[in-house]
Symmetry: C2
Amino acid sequence: MTFSITDHDPQSKARTGTLTTDHGPIQTPIFMPVGTAGTVKAVHQRELETDINADIILGNTYHLYLRPGLEVLRQAGGLHAFNGWRRPILTDSGGYQVYSLSNTRKIKEEGVTFKSHIDGSSHRFTPEGVMDIQRTIGADIIMAFDECTPYPCEYGYARQSMEMTHRWLDRCIDRFDTTEGHYGYRQTLFPIVQGSTYPDLRRQSAEVIASKEREGNAIGGLAVGEPAEEMYSMIELVNGILPADKPRYLMGVGTPANILEAIALGVDMFDCVMPTRNARHGILFTTEGIINIKNEKWSRDYSPIDPGLGGYASTFYSKAYVRHLFKAEELLSGQIASVHNLTFYLWLVRQARTHIAAGDFVSWKNSVIPQLMQRL
Amino acid sequence: MTFSITDHDPQSKARTGTLTTDHGPIQTPIFMPVGTAGTVKAVHQRELETDINADIILGNTYHLYLRPGLEVLRQAGGLHAFNGWRRPILTDSGGYQVYSLSNTRKIKEEGVTFKSHIDGSSHRFTPEGVMDIQRTIGADIIMAFDECTPYPCEYGYARQSMEMTHRWLDRCIDRFDTTEGHYGYRQTLFPIVQGSTYPDLRRQSAEVIASKEREGNAIGGLAVGEPAEEMYSMIELVNGILPADKPRYLMGVGTPANILEAIALGVDMFDCVMPTRNARHGILFTTEGIINIKNEKWSRDYSPIDPGLGGYASTFYSKAYVRHLFKAEELLSGQIASVHNLTFYLWLVRQARTHIAAGDFVSWKNSVIPQLMQRL
């Protein structure tokens, strides 16, 4: 995998680049739609490719491991062959879901035992096992197995957890570097910076992660409830240590404002369930601001969802029609809103890219954030 | 509206034709996907037009009247403008839903009072009112207000109901013929033959309906639980009386076998929720037979849903992937299955058309029905 930086913004740490994988290029900054169980909810693969034009999507190791399971994925020839998505895929390590979804989990040095949220069956994730699982899923970019601490987090726990995450990282690297992909294309492993909201821990973690010299690095454990300013402060600190010539991935972030601010701090990659989850609840991100399409005020607004955005879903369907679909609880409501919101998120990062190249990213960001974040 | 017949099958009453409306031509025999609340469930309008290539879709007067309501539709410029479907639309009269969905309904000579299944509010449908409502919805083909009797139905009730349906028809025609469409294109009114499964009543009703000399005629009150042979027998009787140079629409039918048998009896138009409702439950109609995609046997079948059918949904996604989506209760499951099943239903009537034109419809029908109806 290669990463080449094209442009640097003169007023911030923002940059544009291209991350090249065996499944094609990823133009950064990029937003990666979340395809939890091998499907971006309510969105056809063709729509992802042609309407949303996503460069890369995510899969969740925890979900895919439990269902359809590794044998089905292995025999298919990996997740790309299974779901028909031909562009790059990134899988998380499953850790986050183990902590948030499974009923009972025990975190020990060896790994994590947990019960499936589906049928209560018992499973264990270890750093080595999670590497093997992600080899089988076959993502282009796979993530180290870490512990994502909650917010707030007591200092002692945050430090111990971070240190274990570092030990787990060494085990991940050992396993990854002594195994091969199953399907004839290259995979790469990104380590993850932890350390909660403690500057000294974040500094220490970023130094450890940087020292591993992987092809890309991630920042985890943020956007878990802390104030946005604290998140930005941690990102700035960490990005000052992570190598500038490698892509930086901020996990699980965020709102349009979060994404633009983090781009200004030198982040290249993002994922978040927000555009698709909010879509299914009728919250639409538009170039004019945020719409709750269920509100009565849209019932006779026959204008397109977002003519300024372009694209099928955003310009073909009217606000009044989509509101009707939500009120009638029609499946098409979530389909339209999901394609629309993802189109918006990809538009957002492409606009950022354009403005970085043009040298006016910061002034554009500062003027557009209040507009994009206002409630219409 | 004009109807021209192109080919007659030499061995049956099957025929091909073209029904021309202000929203474009309808090639018959045709299957009309059901878009209850102004949306064919889980299917984008673009998919209906380009993948499924439906010539015409249905809307349900009962649902559209209650939600989004007539004011929203009127201000939009009718249902076509509201949902963006540019080809023909047919609306039912609302009668069937009043009888099957609303909590309490009282059928009197003047009309039917009922309570909304959504909020319990009280409403009245009369023949005149239902004409006005369908004028406002703006369908190309609108249906007379009738009573659809259940099966079995006592003879006396069936006769009285049929006679009231005939009186209601006169009121529908009076209202329809003295009003205009609101949106600048022509609408046409189809009357409906009733009479339960009583040959003398069906004969009498078909004669009354034929005498009205409308541009098309419908057969209602079938596929409500009676044996298929009894349904075919009623269709044959009625079609012997309804004018041969007008399109004949068999309401609410049915399985692939039902449709081919009815085509052989001279039916030109069909609608049914079966392809979309079954799709959402994982039942897929294919050129090889009927699949319950949730079954374990498909878990590692990586072949396309139906390579013989063609089209995006049917050839892009594998059985194993779609099974996984159903087991994981992912929204995309119903989306894929709905597009696939409708693609199949449109393929079916187009195959019928081709074989009628080729003169081998009956032998094709008899050989293909066992294949299409077998459980795989």
